[in-house]
Subunit: 136 residues, 2 copies
């Protein structure tokens, strides 16, 4: 089957260094982090401002792409569930969706948080939260 | 710069055939559609059920990847804005986020909606809406 090439537009710099140290969700004690945007994509940040709520889409580069079913949250007592009904990082295309707030903007460095992504995680898109539609 | 290969896990079948006929957002009169999941990813649907709220992530294959700034909603009276602060399909990695409800499941065909994606749009991931965190 045909595919598409995703090119990182930036990277997460975080105090979380290992997958096992990452909270499972941003509401579970995740820290703030820095999103470094690659120089050639800086124009894409124009008019972004401190306080904006954004969705950061990452490529979970440490995930296992061959996994189709998991025990939710790694809890073996929970029945095997298709990855498309879970937020498991292990899935055919390991995309992460992270809702976060913009805390500071310094040219190509966005301070954002809270976010559970691991240090070095590639960022592939940033979108605004669209509140009126309850879509994020 | 290094990249990653995204492999479609399915495709949208919709009555919307052309980009210019697509609503700009699912709340703006979008129809229901069928998400056909590729046979080899069916195990990923296990335990999904009618009524589930999902986020369908698409690859907006008709988008222009070289665009970094747009007039929001194509309205020239609005100032040029970085694509990362808009939901423009034109962006470096043209990912679409679509919140929809599962209306029917027939093996590898999910009837979902409403969704503004065009017929033939590749689907690259499906995630559950995580309501308690107001994250979708």
């Amino acid at each position: 089957m045909r595919g598409y090439l995703v090119r990182p537009i930036g990277v997460i710099r975080s105090e979380i260094k290992r997958r096992k140290d990452a909270p499972r969700f941003y509401t579970e004690g995740a820290p703030n982090a820095t999103l470094k945007v690659d120089a050639k994509y800086i124009a894409g940040l124009e008019r972004m401002k401190v306080g904006d709520e954004i969705i950061v889409i990452t490529w979970l580069h440490l995930a296992h792409r061959g996994v189709l079913r998991v025990h939710p949250r790694g809890d073996a007592s929970r029945p095997l569930t298709g990855v498309f009904s879970t937020r498991s990082p292990d899935r055919p295309n390991p995309l992460g969706l992270h809702r976060a707030k913009v805390l500071r903007i310094k040219r190509k460095r966005l301070r954002i948080g809270p976010i559970e992504a691991i240090d070095g995680t590639p960022v592939i898109d940033i979108k605004p939260v669209v509140e009126e539609a309850n879509d994020s």
